[in-house]
Each structure stands twice: as structure tokens, then as C-alpha cells.
Homo-oligomer: 345 residues x 2
């Protein structure tokens, strides 16, 4: 068994830990936020953590309406300029808590007395200790280079923070069911195992979604890239119409997330368009009609809240990437050219 | 001659028109901004226009320090939620001025009395007429599906707005030289023509840059995608270390922008790393050492301001994409599956 596979399976436990361990600190953060006038939110992260940041952007804008800027750290670290963050909430996300450029943004925010939150997997890391508040991903050591359990626990921290900040009791209650449903989603492994040989010759693919699952399209593509070297690229369905669609030809592999909910109509429209040009579709959905009428479908749990489906969709992608790497004779734990901790300045 | 090629060559004139035609309206916008307390900037766009938006994000954060959020229109159009934009400057960018989801964000902002600006190529378009201010890209009709002249004129409008807003006289003066230097950059066509047959078998490639030229890496990849169907992907060098680097193998084509200035050290580091794994490099630079020591280099004009180099770098990519399409026997004016005006809801 690979480390990546083992860590994928740890996620129900990790997510449960996350929910338990961060409740008190999140209450403290909300009190601080409520005592201040927060005009904007800035999220800063790299790689997989950046995709948890995109999830965070959607969930904050959805539930609170506050525009979220994803920071370009180079403004501070490369151009030596200062961002105005006086009335900002600044959230840094980093598995290791060591990303230097991410840390610089937190320091810049602290100087201006912004509220700063670090979401990391190491309580004594520079980002954890330099942030006013630390949200702990409680994942235990992640040994695989390809991040899995720390990604979902970063999302869980973001979601819990926003659910409490926006007094969304329904979301809080649904989040408490995520660990159980993630465990359910892991059973997809059997279906993926039985189909994976169909994809062993895959050299490139697209991963599409709409709305908050855009974060998952990007993260899915990254998982596939770093473990299988397949040139995978994630797009929002809405952007894919603007140019990238031209790249799709006969048999081009396209993974599409089509959960029940507000994005289903757009996903269905794209599926029809892709079928017309002969793309080879892989559909991840909980829509019964899509499951009945298509081959190569992968079923996620039923869910009536689009802010929750990312947790189930990413489980598919993590398992797909890991199993495809093995089917290709690669070791997903040892991607060429990568290190676990990437320091970018 | 293709329409795309003709329109690439119109850019010096278009950019000159842009500088002349928008000066007065920009002065009015600045007065309005200065009379208000603007806490954040939201930019909304799709496709190529979104890349002009990313350029806008960098130049605003660089010169003014105000965090810029790139809007996810689905929050409003798909989830039916409202963004809080009372003290925001909201900039919509759309070639046609017809993008429905972009228009919805402008309407939401108008209701909250935010300052709204539409940057379009049609003065009577819905986005132009619904925005408080209209910045005109003054490009004449763009017939090629692949946007070229409207992209650089969108960037010019953003740059001129920011230069005046931040009282950056040096930048204003440098922008006035851009039309002439773009004309100079067009001479690169001879070098590209003489090398293009080397790339006719290209099926995929990466396009890398750092800092503000990240916008150009993305736009370059999109131009190559839509005209040649090559699976091109743009990345910030800083993100490329985090996972995507694993996809690079022997002879993988990588286009890298390495202009003189603050990003050069990172570009050089990445070039060294890419050479070690045997990537096939295409370097766009004005650094004499890189030009001397490498094959497959393309020289852009000398420039001491990193906010300006995007105008020269994108000229390379537009010409490269158009010529590669022709070398592959494709018509760059008629990408499969695409229309000039893409309406996303």
C-alpha cells in the first residue's frame, strides 16, 4: 500500500478531529471579527493549499458576500510593495506552515493590525506562530508528497469558520456529517479499481466543474499531474467555453463534476457539447439520470448543499490519481522533481 | 494573410488611439474615486479579458496597494447571492460588452452605488451602457476569434487608469512609448517565421513567468490553445514548483518569459532546473546573457519597468500562436468549437 493511499483513507478520522479541535478557537476568531469592521478578506497560499483557498473564497463570498482577494505574494516579496490590509481578514494556508512568501503576507498584515489566521498542519511552524490565530489541520504527519488529508482538512477549517461566522446552523450540521459521508465515498475505490485499466494510456485530460467545485477541478488536475505526469488541466465550465474548448477532439479525456444542485444545468450542457465532439467523458455525479444514461460514471453521496460536494468529489480524484499512477507503473509517493516542502520566495 | 495576423499588426495604432481617447474619462474617474473611500477593487471578466483583469490586479496592487478580488460571477448568477460592494470599485472587462454574467456583477454593484467601469470595444454594448464609466478599447472591429488587439488595449486602459490614479508620472510617460515599442516587437516575426517549423509537431507545452507577466503566461497559453489545439498551460513559476513540475520530461516544450527586472532571478533558477530535466526551452527575454547563451531565444525591447513588459511579451505569443497554426495547416481565424462572442450565464 502506498503512503498516499493510506493517507486518503485517513480522511474520515482527520476531518472528525478537525471539527472537534478547532471549535473553540473559531469562536474566539468570530468574536474578534464581530468587534471589527472587516472590509475584505485576503487569502494567501500556494499549490494544493491555494485550491483550499479558492474553496474558501467561494464559501466566504457565498455565505457572507465579502469580496475575497487571492493574494499574489510577489507584490510584497518580489516588487517590495505593501498591500493595504488595515481592515482585512488575512488567511494563510500552508501544509508545512513554512512557505516564506505566504509568511511575508502575514507579517505585512500583522504590521497593519489586520486579523490574521494561519491554517497549517504544524502548530509550531512560522506561519502558525506568526498568525494571530492558528487553525490546526490535525492530520498527523503527511508523508506522501501529494497532499490529500491536509487538503480536505484545510477545506473543513475554512467551512467551519464561515459556517460559524455566518451563523449558518444548517451548514454546521451538514459539516458534521462529512466524515461519515467521506467514508462512504471511499467505497468508490472498487469502481475505480475495476475501470482504471481503461485509462492507463492517458497522456492528457481536462477536469471541469462549475461554481465552488472549480477548486476541486484545479486540485484534481494537480493530483493527477504530480502522481501520473498526465498533463491534466482544470477549468471552470464557464471559462472552458472561452477558448480552451478548441483543444477537445475525438477521444480527448474529460473528467466532469456534475453534482445535483445549481451547477447541474451547466454541467449537462457541457456534457452534451463534449459528446458532440467525441470527447471521452468521465462523469462524477450523484444525479440518477446521468448515472443511468452514461458509461464511466462515478457516484458520490447524495447531498443538497453545493458547499459540501467538494469533499466528496476530491475523494474521487485522489483515488483516481493514486490508482492511475500505480496502473502506469509509477510510485505516487515519489513524484519526479518534487519535494514535500516547497519554499517559494 | 489571416485576420489574426492583420489584427496583431494593428496594435501599435490601436494602443495609440487608446491613449488619446480615454484620457479625459480617466480624469473624471479619478476625481470620483478620490471623492470616495474605496476599500477594495473587484474585477470581473472571462477568457482573454480575464487575463487583462489579472494584469489589472497586479498593477493596482503594485501601484496602489488595494487588494483586488477577481470576481467569481457564479456567486451572483448561479448561487443567487449578493456581493457587498458599497465601497468598491468594480471593473468589468469584455471585448463584446455582452457577457451576461459579467453584466450581472455590474448591476449588483450599481445597486450598491459602487463605482463601476466597463472596458469594452463597443460603446453601445450592455456592459458599456450599464457601467457608470466606459473605457473604450478603440480597436475597431476584431474579426478573428482569437482576441489580440482588444487584449492589449484592455491592458492599456487598465495601466493608464492606474498610472493616473497613483500619480505615477514615470509610468504615464513609459506607456506613451508602448505603441512605438510594440511596433519594434512586431519585427520578431522574422525570427519566429524562421524557427516555427521546429515546433510543428508540438502537442503540448507549458508557458511560465513570474509576477505581472503571469497574466501573459495564461494569455499566451490560451492563444496557443485556441489557434493550434496544442494543450498549452500557463503557470506562475512560483506555483510550477508545487506539483506541475513533475509533468516536465525530456523534450517537454516550455516557453518562459524572463524579462530584465525583479523576476529575472526566479526565471533563471527555473531555466536551470528545466535544463537539468532536459526540457525544450523557448526563452523570451531582453537579458543579453540569456540571449547569448541559449538557442531558441526571442528578444523583446529593453525595458526598465516590469509593468510594461507584458505588452511586448504577448506580441511574441500572438505571433507564435498564429504562425504555429499556419505551420500546422490550421486556420487560426476559425478555431473549432468556438464563437467570437461567448455568452456565459
Amino acid at each position: 500500500m502506498t503512503k498516499m493511499w493510506k493517507e486518503i483513507y485517513e480522511q474520515p478520522t482527520v476531518l472528525q478531529n478537525c471539527l472537534i479541535q478547532n471549535t473553540q478557537i473559531i469562536n474566539d476568531i468570530i468574536k474578534d471579527i464581530d468587534s471589527r469592521k472587516i472590509n475584505n478578506v485576503v487569502i494567501v497560499a500556494r499549490g494544493t493549499s491555494d485550491h483550499a483557498g479558492i474553496y474558501g473564497k467561494y464559501i466566504i463570498e457565498h455565505n457572507l458576500g465579502i469580496p475575497v482577494a487571492l493574494a499574489a505574494p510577489s507584490i510584497i516579496t518580489m516588487y517590495n510593495k505593501k498591500l493595504l490590509l488595515t481592515n482585512s481578514l488575512v488567511i494563510a494556508i500552508s501544509q508545512s506552515g513554512q512557505a516564506e512568501d505566504v509568511l511575508e503576507v502575514i507579517k505585512c498584515a500583522n504590521e497593519q493590525e489586520a486579523i490574521t489566521i494561519g491554517i497549517t498542519n504544524f502548530e509550531s511552524s512560522p506561519i502558525a506562530t506568526n498568525s494571530k490565530y492558528h487553525l490546526y489541520t490535525a492530520a498527523g504527519v503527511e508523508e506522501s508528497v501529494a497532499a490529500t488529508k491536509t487538503f480536505t482538512s484545510q477545506m473543513m477549517n475554512m467551512a467551519l469558520l464561515v459556517a460559524k461566522w455566518s451563523n449558518d446552523e444548517q451548514l454546521i450540521s451538514k459539516l458534521s456529517l462529512v466524515p461519515k459521508n467521506v467514508r462512504e465515498t471511499l467505497k468508490l475505490s472498487e469502481t475505480i479499481v475495476s475501470h482504471i485499466s481503461d485509462y492507463v494510456e492517458m497522456n492528457d485530460c481536462f477536469v471541469l466543474s462549475r461554481g465552488i467545485n472549480y477548486a476541486i477541478a484545479l486540485e484534481s488536475a494537480l493530483k493527477i499531474q504530480e502522481t501520473t505526469y498526465v498533463k491534466a488541466k482544470g477549468y471552470a465550465i464557464s471559462d472552458f467555453h472561452h477558448g480552451p474548448f478548441a483543444m477537445v477532439g475525438q477521444q480527448t479525456p474529460v473528467i466532469i463534476y456534475a453534482p445535483e444542485g445549481p451547477s447541474l444545468a451547466d454541467a449537462n450542457e457541457m456534457i452534451t457539447k463534449l459528446k458532440k465532439v467525441g470527447a471521452s467523458l468521465i462523469i462524477v455525479t450523484n444525479n440518477q439520470q446521468l448515472l443511468n444514461e452514461n458509461k464511466n460514471t462515478f457516484a458520490i453521496p447524495m447531498c443538497d448543499n453545493d458547499l459540501i460536494t467538494p469533499f466528496y468529489n476530491i475523494i474521487f480524484a485522489q483515488m483516481f490519481a493514486c490508482l492511475l499512477a500505480l496502473a502506469k507503473g509509477l510510485n505516487p509517493d515519489q513524484p519526479r522533481g518534487l519535494n514535500k516542502v516547497t519554499i517559494t520566495r
